[in-house]
Symmetry: C2
Subunit: 222 residues, 2 copies
């Protein structure tokens, strides 16, 4: 079955997955330290370069494996809020080579026409709740898995709705002080998962959360 | 640059990477316990199934990433020794779906015509020393990395010749007693590598060996 996966979600020691004050110059707000330890050069696979391959790279390299679509929040697509301006030629943070290479469902209260790129990335702008968005992404994924991209508020939304099957968290040894909390107030979702914790030489602690097998009926005792 | 990588090399606590007595029924000899802890379902990437994703799967999933060719010993291709029999219709252990999907250089003292499969796998049978075989594999790989498959005696040969750039060893908590030793007598090669050690919840200890940067001239002091 097509599963919903979250990858490379960097969380600070004080529990924040993104900073505040996102601007055009600061795509992840004031939490840049969160991402400084995790290289993202291997999201399309290790190898093909002279870089050494460490555990962090190996874990990062799972990002695109058997993924057919992504769901992201509007904030990940761009810094704007409110209705799109008719003359806005914004096409995302990534120029003409977005790294996704698949359809991407962008959650927004302001739908607009899709944006297509030559490398296979297509952004669809959709006003939908989490289950509906997931159904659309599954259809676009053609049987492959769906990746839930950031930010933390939208990952939270999918965790609360129990739609996440796999979650890779990278706990980074920095504190951020304020920002978007991943699990604050929804700690109970942890009980739905088997969690494997893996320390890395870089100081990052990786957590692999696998949703326990779901019963076919909610009333069936385990 | 195209690098030579070794993946998922299972080694017992007493240092053996394969058992003795390889037969048609026992492709890895009497060392089956060596491989029982490491699932190989994810060699073409995690996801696309309902299986949970653990650290062992993540590491296994790097096997094919950016790989354009494999080099293997004849023993990995089949149990026969000596000249090929003219009426032998052996096409490898894997039936009509070998998992390689790329050219494969099979090292043998008895060259023969290549064997092609519809899924992209092509076995080339070559009598060559390690550097020559690597040169041929690099050409076949079209700029991508080359994977060195088992068994241990051929991996040893490439380690001794300092041709290996990356090595992933999975130390499995079993003893085998006898078999093919990976590092016995060539322990000094370890000093050429930076080694990251990663424990797994399964009891397997993973080691990521990255060859330190090679100087352009051997006489240049570090």
């Amino acid at each position: 079955m097509s599963r919903l996966r979250v990858h490379n979600l960097c969380v600070s020691l004080d529990g924040y997955a993104a900073g505040t004050h996102v601007t055009l110059e600061k795509p992840i707000g004031d939490a840049r330290a969160l991402f400084s330890l995790v290289r993202h050069g291997s999201i399309h696979g290790i190898g093909g370069s002279d870089d050494p391959v460490g555990l962090d790279d190996v874990l990062t390299s799972t990002w695109a494996q058997n993924i057919g679509a992504e769901i992201m929040g509007r904030r990940k697509f761009g810094p704007q809020a409110g209705p799109w301006k008719p003359d806005d030629d914004w096409r995302g943070w990534w120029g003409e080579e977005p790294p996704f290479l698949t359809p991407v469902v962008v959650l927004t209260h302001h739908p607009r026409e899709p944006l297509e790129f030559e490398n296979g990335t297509v952004f669809h702008f959709v006003d939908a709740d989490a289950p509906t968005a997931l159904g659309m992404a599954r259809e676009l994924a053609g049987g492959l898995d769906v990746r839930r991209g950031g930010g933390p508020s939208t990952v939270r939304q999918f965790l609360e709705a129990d739609l996440v099957d796999f979650l890779h968290i990278a706990v980074v040894p920095v504190t951020v002080g304020q920002g978007g909390s991943l699990l604050g107030g929804i700690e109970h979702v942890r009980e739905l998962f088997d969690i494997e914790t893996v320390p890395s030489a870089s100081g990052v602690e990786h957590q692999l959360w696998n949703r326990r097998a779901r019963e076919s009926s909610a009333s069936t005792p385990r």
